[in-house]
Amino acid sequence: MKKILLWILAFILTGTLLLTCVCLVGRQVIAPGLQEDGAQVSDAVIREEKELARQRITELADLYGFTAEPVIEFVNEETLRDLHQEASRWYSRILTDGKSGEDVVWNPEGLEAVFAKDPALAELSRDEAESMILICTDEVRRSMVRMVLPLRQQVIGIGLQMAGKKVDLPNIIEFLVGVPWAALAISALIAGLIALFAGRIRFSLKYIGSALGAAAIVLAATAVLFLSAGIQSMIREASAGLTIQYQDVVSGAVLLTAVMAAVLLAGCAVCLWLGRKSVKTA
């Protein structure tokens, strides 16, 4: 009877440990979006986006006949970081207010001047040149915003309005952010209960170690299942800009999952090894 109770507690401990790990990963994914002043974007993302921006500007230059190099130089790392801050504030409004608010508009000073100095456009008549400067500026702006925030902002806004009538998104987010620590506290409580019911801490190690190992196995299996679902290929087909950001978020989440699984496995090995000693002495 005592053994059955201990195994039930170990089963519950596995569940709470899993909940802690899954919520910690979820928290890591959404936490940057909760910063009011905008999330910090990694250098790797900026580098890849700079390369993508170069490709897009070259395509636009071929289409509209302007010189690509000055525009590519204009869209530097600092400019991309500013644009990311704008996009991050847009995400933040969704997560904290449950509304998308105004669309992200990128209006950098000096882009029109870059086109105005372009010798290829200077060859046109004055009216044509002015018109081309406006068109080219608008196209580059739109292309860069689409690269950094490749979402139909109005569609998201309508979707959020509809969802907001049924669920309170900000409250759910706030609740989710607090769940990992609550689940961790419950896990510690259950581990204590196992030790209490087992009588001696050494005897309880078998159950606690099994729960840690089981949580690591299930966590790894869940990560493998998610990675094999093929979401990345869908995103790659849909947008190159989103693929860069998705890869950055997923690699961070996978790294955290791997670290947590390794910690759980190490805990499992230590507990079971010490537990084996108790079997020997018993």
Binding site: R152, K206, S210, A211, L225, A238, L272, R276
Partner: protein, 52 residues
């Protein structure tokens, strides 16, 4: 060391796997039952919300 104690000591390493089995079974069942629908929904959502 008796044979029974030795067996017990060896069996202890399989306990995490045994404890993980119910969770893996539930995850597998959910993946089989709802996986294709969820993937289809994600695909539709990506197509609707993402600008190429």
């Amino acid at each position: 060391m008796s044979t029974e104690t030795k067996k017990k000591r060896e069996r202890v390493w399989f306990l995490p796997l045994v404890l993980a089995l119910p969770f893996l079974a539930v995850i597998a069942a959910i993946a089989v039952r709802f996986g294709p629908t969820v993937i289809k929904l994600i695909s539709v959502a990506i197509k609707a919300a993402v600008v190429s």
